[in-house]
């Protein structure tokens, strides 16, 4: 488990990260979102023990990160940096072997073989890293990140520049890590990726604007709404749906967008009222806004405040 407590980092007069607190639980994928310069990379570097916070603290598996404990605690963390950072003149196997020794792994050759097998790069073991495609480099870098079996994994823009197939492989792998009870912190600009894999989302712009599940953020910002598609103009039925738990009704052509306190509980009664009034119902679905809308609204509200 990783706990960031009132984490702050200043560079001279500039505050890069301001008083952020959150917990990364085992089996959780927390997506760190924010515009460029929001402090995401600085946050990851503090969590990885590469730079010290100006205030606040990082705790890894119950132990506080200090200059004295950082070298040892870094052994529990796998940090995938934004660039793969492989030694180009060394082969894939040599790169991994050096890191296996740096982490003091007991059966280094076995660990290297296992991680190459896991990432399907065994057939490229003897290739110089300079000869690899960007996707393969990223795969080797992730193999290096997981080589020492860390339980906390920090990923900085892991799918940036990858082709769709490689990005999908990567996402599958991140989900696999979650299944294996790793704690994953994912910093990215790819909101579609976040929607697919993240269990919680943290939005950062120097300070933490919000941290919650995507559904909770959506409900907090936009409320819960049902969308009812009808076979005729919807305006006729806008008054029909009024009742307990319904707070707002909007008409969009042949559809009604209905704000409710609890979509699951209120939907049957709304449907009954509409059918009684002669409505020809085509579909009833919870209305969902994209994460992009949630994210932009959070940033916009933060700017306004």
């Amino acid at each position: 488990m990783l706990i960031a407590s009132h984490l702050t980092r200043r560079f001279g007069d500039r505050v890069a990260v301001d008083d952020t607190s959150y917990t990364l639980e085992p089996g959780e994928i927390l997506a760190l979102l924010g515009p460029n310069g929001a402090g995401k990379t600085t946050t990851l570097r503090m969590l990885a023990g590469l730079i010290s916070p100006s205030a606040g603290s990082v705790s890894v598996n119950g132990e506080t990160m200090t200059p004295a404990t950082a070298p040892r605690l870094r052994g529990h963390i796998g940090f995938l940096t934004e660039a793969p950072g492989l030694w180009d003149r060394l082969t894939v196997r040599q790169n991994l072997q050096v890191y296996a020794r740096l982490h003091g792994l007991p059966k280094q050759a076995h660990a290297v073989d296992a991680v190459m097998e896991m990432f399907n790069i065994t057939d490229r073991a003897g290739d110089l890293c300079a000869q690899l495609s960007k996707g393969l480099k990223q795969r080797v870098a992730l193999a290096r990140t997981l080589l020492h079996k860390p339980n906390i994994i920090l990923l900085d823009e892991p799918t940036s520049g990858l082709d769709p197939a490689s990005a999908r492989e990567f996402r599958d792998l991140i989900v696999r890590l979650q299944d294996e009870q790793h704690s994953v912190l994912l910093s990215t600009h790819n909101l579609d990726e976040v929607e697919r894999v993240a269990t919680r989302v943290a939005v950062l712009r120097t300070r933490l604007i919000a941290v919650d599940t995507p559904a909770a953020l959506h409900a907090r910002l936009f409320g819960s709404r049902l969308r009812v598609e009808l076979g005729q103009p919807a305006a006729t039925f806008s008054a029909t749906v009024a009742g307990p738990g319904v707070t707002d009704v909007a008409v969009i052509d042949n559809a009604l967008s209905i704000a409710v306190d609890d979509p699951g509980d209120r939907a049957p009664a709304i449907v009954r009222r509409l059918v009684s009034a002669g409505a020809d119902i085509r579909s009833v679905v919870p209305e969902e806004r994209s994460l992009e809308e949630v994210y932009l609204k959070l940033l916009s509200e933060e700017s306004d405040s």
Binding site: G75, R89, L90, R101, G104, A141
Partner: protein
Amino acid sequence: MTRMLALLGKELADLRRNRALFYPALITGAASILIPFFVAVVVPYLAGERLADSGDFKMAVDMYRTQPLSRRLDPEGAIQAWVFQQFLLLLVLTPIAGAMSVAAYTVIGEKQARTLEPLLATPITTTELLVAKVLGSLIPACGLAIGSFAVYVLLVAIFAKAGVFLMLLSLRSVAIVFLLAPLAALAALQLAVCVSSRVNDVRSAQQIGALLILPLTGLLVAQLTGSVQLTGGLISAIAGGLAVVNIVLLAVGIRLFDREAILTQWK
């Protein structure tokens, strides 16, 4: 220790595939070998004159006549031995040139290739990292200097007067190559590592080598003009001084290597 050795192994493997870094040292080594041959063998041969006929080298003959090993040499052999010994100091420049080319690149190169951040994310300490970087430059550079010395002795054995090469195997000569040269190279590369921890440009780090090359060149000139005799005592004193300098530079290097500044201020 394991982590230091891991990184040292990486440094050496990396260098094996980047031999161009050693071209400056190879050129310096070749020049250090060839210059005394021009003076002691080629020029007298082309001019058809013996060095022993010139009064300029009387000092060399007198000096070497007093040394037991040189007593069996004829005057020409004694002068050749003097020339080859004086120029031995040039071989000290070979590992410095080699170390400088590699060491200046060592931190800046990692940063430019963006390989430093994942490396710093491992449990490796600053001391382990710097020692590995320094040894990774020093070992091949000293190997090159020793190789150059072997070639030098071999060529002297082949082309100079009989017995002259034995003068190069004296304790004094061995001390220059095996003690002075590594210590000077170590100081040069530690300076380069210190500088490369603080600048973004490989050239800036390489220029620091002039700080050591200049006094060595001055020592060579002083020796040739007879102002200074590089005796065993003087070699020991210089070696002792360099050892102290190296210890201080290691401590300074560790203090100067600011992980945070390297990660957050370099672009």
